[in-house]
């Protein structure tokens, strides 16, 4: 009969939870950064203002 290895069980569950949670938080962080960029004044007038035309060839 095998002894219980609760340490290993905890490690497995803990690491898995950390990985999944970490990815979810990573997604949330990128989403927040994107939202911040969207809300910035430069984004207020997309199209003409956001893509400056190269007027002259240097």
């Amino acid at each position: 009969m095998m002894p219980d290895h609760w340490g290993y069980v905890l490690a497995a569950y803990g690491l898995s939870a950390a990985a999944l949670l970490g990815y979810w938080r990573h997604l949330a962080r990128r989403r927040r950064a994107l939202d911040a960029r969207l809300r910035s004044p430069r984004a207020a007038a997309p199209g003409k203002a956001a893509i400056p035309k190269k007027a002259a060839i240097r």
Binding site: M2, H5, V9, L38, P46
Partner: protein
């Protein structure tokens, strides 16, 4: 999918995970041969099944991207690949931690772990490739071809590793799966598998949404 529906899905996933946890520790009994260490299986098996689902979606997205040329398919492929790598990592780590007290070693070249490791390597390469191409259309096509090759290779890897193992080592007595699976264990496995699938779908939706927004804005904010 609307933001609200996605949030509901996330809540459902969380609930299912909680139920799965309860099932894994409360409902399912202590396994006769391996003891409580066997409970790691309630992560390991659902994770690998979810990973296969993810890589199946990578194939679907890759074929769709080539067939239709629409960016949405490629976003699906890329998102699914990220999640597939994540869940494969969980599979490998949980399998390794399970193996240490069970077989006495952190790693063993048994058929499933080896196949899973090769899968991991293939799709990490796929993600690296995606990271090296900036233009969305180019990236979509290049990634799609690799995605198709990677997916087509999965059964080939499976058989080659299985036969290779049969040659080089007789099967171990303590395999990862107890042969006849008791009903409570099967039930707990099923619940956890459903929970993982829900979690996967939720994360997939969020990742695809993120990609869609980034693709719309990156060309302009990059100036």
């Amino acid at each position: 999918m609307s933001a609200r529906a996605t949030r509901i899905l996330g809540g459902l996933a969380l609930l299912a995970l909680a139920v799965g946890l309860a099932a894994g520790f409360g409902y399912a009994p202590r396994e006769a041969v391996q003891g409580n260490v066997q409970r790691i299986m309630y992560i390991h098996v659902p994770a690998v099944l979810t990973a296969y689902l993810a890589f199946g979606l990578v194939l679907v997205g890759s074929i769709g991207a080539l067939a239709t040329g629409r960016a949405g398919w490629d976003r699906l492929a890329g998102a699914a690949a990220e999640l597939g790598v994540l869940f494969t990592g969980v599979t490998i780590v949980s399998g390794s931690i399970w193996g240490k007290p069970t077989w006495g070693t952190w790693w063993t070249w048994d058929a499933r772990l080896t196949s899973t490791a090769v899968l991991f390597l293939v799709y990490v390469g796929y993600l690296l490739l995606r990271a090296m191409v900036d233009e969305p259309e180019r990236r979509a096509r290049i990634a799609a071809v690799v995605g198709i090759v990677g997916a087509a290779n999965i059964p080939i890897v499976h058989f080659s590793v299985k036969w290779w193992r049969a040659l080089h080592q007789p099967s171990t007595i303590l395999g990862p799966e107890p042969s006849p699976i008791a009903a409570p264990i099967a039930a707990a496995l099923f619940v956890n598998w459903v929970a993982f699938t829900l979690l996967f779908l939720y994360l997939l939706l969020r990742r695809v949404e993120l990609a869609r927004l980034e693709d719309a804005w990156v060309p302009e904010t990059r100036r």
